[in-house]
Amino acid sequence: MRNKWISGISAVCLILALPFFNWIKVVNLVALFSRIGVTKDMAKDLLTGYNLYNLLSFVQYANQGVLGLFAMVLLILTAAAIYFNVAFIIRSLLGIKKGKGELSLLAAGKCAFLFEFLTAAATIAFVIFSNAKFKMTGFLPGAVVYIELVISIAAYIYIKILEKKERDKYREHGLWVELKRNWVLFVMLIPTFVYFMINNYLPMLGVYFAFTSFNFRDGLWSSPFTGFKNFEFLIKADLFRLTKNTVLYNVVFIGIGNILQIFFAILVSRVTVKWFKKTSQTLMFMPYFVSFVILKVIVYNVFEYQYGLINNLVTQMGGERIDFYNNPSYWPFLITFFYLWKNIGYGMVVYLATIMGIDNEIYEAARVDGANELQQIWYITLPHIKPTFIILLLYALGSIMKGQFELFYQLIGNNGVLFNATDIFDTYVYRITMTQPLSIGLGTAAGLYQSLFGFLIIVLVNYIVKKRNPEYALF
């Protein structure tokens, strides 16, 4: 019952956050425009009030790149707030419960109001920030912002109280208790936290460059905000073909690659002669060290039309020369072959290690029961490999739009004749960015598209896997 009320409040917050209301008012128009260099002509595209959704249009049309990143963060916060509120309302209205009592529902509510609060607070901060930047009062937060702020704080505290009662009932605990109880685990994570912060999360701000047109005069964070201009080239491209090629190649690589890796790992693990075991393992690892640059040279020497090794053999046997480099149909197979060739030995190690981790007594028991080799593999080895296999598969799915750039680029090069069958997203983007060497935005925009594509797929697949067997889920 109480939940319905809270979800009602959440709905109010949600409505307030919809684009009907002005969160930011532009005041002192003349003085402000004169200060930031907006002409009367430009003013046609500007408004006197903005919500968080069209705030970026102000940044773009008033040419105020300085505010771009902040406005972007606001937009992301808003999106998050909307998402969590909608999720919360749906869950509470439908009465979806999992875990202990209403704890998870309350946590969702907390999240929803937290983000509402953050959005409102950040909006006020934005106003203060931009006024300070322009050294005048040009912006004011709308009344809605304050309402939102108050409501979300109140609701958050209310949920907190409810949650405490629930927790007492179910002996669950929150972050603080967890921290106290498992502080050692948190300590273990500190280096990891520092590492990923420096190496990944802080540089991630650079995603913003996908929406700007960088120039050196204004610098990285103040360059003009240009909306989706950097994405235009993706629309110009044959996006369907690129996506299809990339995904298909990856599916084949991942699928056949893993199967062969497992296959050879099992073979190696079954071999009893020790030196043979080690030697074959080492030899199969060797292609990993052959760089694509060298591979390209060797492949060209083998498949060239006039002097190539294969065509020499073919003509010696009285056959017709094969024109590999002008015939797209050969290349999907060749590329797949070289991918597998290069990666089997490397990927095999993971499965070999997994197989080696299997308890010997299980095999022995099976042998005593009269199981033959194939049965042992089928009933013992494969089930033990399954978790690793699924995790690797899931992991690879997130990068399904990212290709083996070096492999394709080196083997195919600039041979436009073969592009229909061999052009993947990365090679296309590479060619495009070559024509605009100073644009940071293009590459970032392309990367963002790849990331979003992979992200949606992985979230979906992970959700399904988690439903069926949480053991196998990636996160």
Binding site: M188, P203, V268, F276, T279, F285, F289, N372, I391, L392
Partner: protein, 308 residues
């Protein structure tokens, strides 16, 4: 724990091999030999090419045995032995430091996110995995190290960025989950063991194949990398081996192209054979090292831990 570490799963000497097993083994050996040959063939071409005269490679192509035997490619690479030894030394340093630290951090993280009692394990896993999908691109990453942290020219900038990878963390988690059943850690907890005790006494000993795999991948990553030297080194004394070799080649090709724009002298390098000799020089030590790693792919330790 007193087990034969090199115990082989299918070698019970008392039981006679059945025909099925024999057929299976015959097939296994054949396939492995075949696979090995396909894999090693190009490498033989590379090795023989590295001993072949550059002009011969260009005019007659590659072969399985060296023609016009010459050491000139190696002479070019080892032209200044001091520099290449320094590069070997630095690479070894980066590899040892990076692999050691990285392996520790990855294992600890893998342990934490595999603990069922850790409430936020999924959140942490997600945050780590997330970095493999989303990234800000190379320029912010470069500016982070070069400008924000001011590490340009420092060796830290060369080994730090490769300490961890989401892939290896997730892989490590899988290994830990597979190797350490909950029952063991639970019973250890009841005995009053802390997380560090469990980690060092119970998890690490049974994790050898996992540690070897992740360590191998980390080490190979360090050994084969040239990119961070290219980005962050300001002095050739901090170069990685691969970069030393790679740049030798790039300088020649780039300068030849550059000569379209600028009147300049270009270095003359037997490009083709040097390319191949480079692969040999960089790969050799790793191949010597690999059998050592293989020792850790041993089976049958889990049981010992449970019972011991």
């Amino acid at each position: 724990m007193a087990r034969d570490l090199d115990y082989e799963p299918s070698a019970p000497k008392t039981i006679k091999k059945s025909t099925g097993t024999k057929v299976f083994e015959a097939i296994a050996y054949t396939l492995l030999i075949l696979g090995s040959i396909i894999c090693v063939l190009p490498f033989i071409i590379i090795v023989s090419g590295s001993f072949t005269d550059n002009a011969t490679i260009l005019t007659q192509g590659y072969s399985l045995l060296p023609r016009d035997f010459t050491l000139s490619a190696y002479q070019t690479i080892f032209k200044s032995p001091k520099d290449i030894l320094q590069a070997y030394k630095m690479t070894l340093y980066y590899t040892v430091v990076g692999t050691g630290l990285g392996l520790m951090m990855i294992t600890l993280t893998g342990y934490v996110i595999s603990r069922k009692e850790f409430k936020y394990r999924n959140t942490v896993s997600f945050l780590i995995y997330f970095t493999s999908i989303f990234g800000g691109g190379m320029i912010p990453w470069y500016l982070m190290y070069a400008n924000v942290l001011g590490l340009k020219g420092s060796t830290l900038a060369i080994w730090f960025p490769a300490l961890m990878s989401p892939f290896l963390v997730i892989l490590m988690r899988t290994f830990i989950v597979g190797a350490v059943p909950d029952a063991i850690t639970e019973s250890a907890k009841i005995d009053g063991a802390g997380h560090f005790t469990i980690f060092f006494r119970i998890v690490l000993p049974v994790l050898k194949p996992g540690l070897a795999t992740v360590g191998l991948f980390l080490a190979l990553g360090y050994w084969n990398d040239w990119y961070r030297s290219s980005m962050f080194s300001t002095n050739s004394s901090t170069w990685q081996l691969q970069f030393y070799l790679y740049d030798l080649l790039n300088a020649t090709t780039a300068m030849k192209q550059m000569a379209s724009n600028v009147s300049m002298k270009t270095a003359d390098l037997p490009t083709e054979s040097v390319k191949l000799a480079m692969a040999v020089v960089a790969t050799g030590p790793v191949l010597l090292f690999y059998p050592f790693v293989q020792r850790f792919f041993v089976s049958g330790i889990t049981v010992g831990a449970v019972k011991g």
